[in-house]
């Protein structure tokens, strides 16, 4: 699955996902990726987020919506990402997943669980090029 968040020159925010889902799923199964608030979420006056991992579990907690709402109530992107992951871990300590979060200013953060580390890719006006960063889980 890929989840993408972008902020353009006008400060407008968009988010999206694309996936072929889990291997050997039961026919008819849809994961979290196309579910608003789960696979991704965006609000122009706050920021956006996108999640990846075990979609059957993640969609039960709407982690992208959770992270954006956390930023609305004052958390920075890194903390918002961790809050969304922590809520899932409370119920499913063995789950694997990650989330990337960006606020409307372009500040970003990521959190993960169940992997050693989680890679994500970013390009912004500070880097001026594409970088791969890692979140420690």
């Amino acid at each position: 699955t890929i989840g993408i968040v972008a902020i353009d020159h006008n400060g407008n925010i968009a988010a999206g996902t694309s996936t072929n889902g889990a291997k050997f799923k039961i026919p008819g199964r849809v994961g979290d990726s196309p579910i608003p608030g789960s696979g991704a979420y965006a609000m122009n006056n706050i920021g956006a987020a996108s999640a990846t991992g075990d979609g059957d579990i993640m969609m039960r907690f709407l982690p992208s919506f959770h992270a954006v709402q956390a930023m609305k109530y004052g958390h920075n992107p890194k903390d918002a990402a961790q809050l969304a992951i922590n809520t899932i871990v409370q119920y499913y300590p063995e789950f694997s997943g990650a989330i990337i979060v960006v606020d409307k200013y372009g500040h970003y953060g990521a959190a993960c669980h169940g992997f050693d580390k989680f890679p994500y890719s970013i390009a912004n006006s500070n880097f001026g090029k594409v970088m791969v960063l890692y979140a420690e889980c």
Binding site: K23, R29, P34, I57, S96, V130
Partner: protein
Amino acid sequence: PSTPVVINTWAFTDSTTKSWSILNSNGSAIDAVVAGCTVCEQNQCDGTVGYGGSPDENGETTLDALIIDGVTMNMGAVGHMKRIKDAAKVARHVMENTKHTLLVGDGATQFAIQMGFKETDLSTNYSLTLWNQWKTNCQPNFWNNVRPNPEKYCGPYKPNPSSKSKPTSNFVDMKNHD
């Protein structure tokens, strides 16, 4: 502010590069997101995006995608879409050309065809090989509380009222995830 910015899950840098080039050409955030997703669909990123990956129990590859406009809160998505390669582009059409949010299955396929997309088989030799290997013993699978025991046997399955296992998470790694 550190904008414009594009950030995506996993080390799918071809997608980031495409999205970044669009933002730097004064393209919109939506254009950047759709184009980045489309690159991954065409590149079959880690076998987890696009055609030819993650076959289901019947050996079929189906696609899901979502596009969100943070300005208007308009959204479009497709789920379990069959036989159409461009999932993100179709999701954008759902957002821009319907009042709905999510279309699924064969209905999503018919919508895509109406929007001008070409119907094609999403299987590849790779996905069919994966599926044939899995089919020999049907492990792992996603069945629970059924008989015969899904950890040992293939289906078809029936509900097993005497079995009550706790909800658990699934195996996920870099090559198998949502």
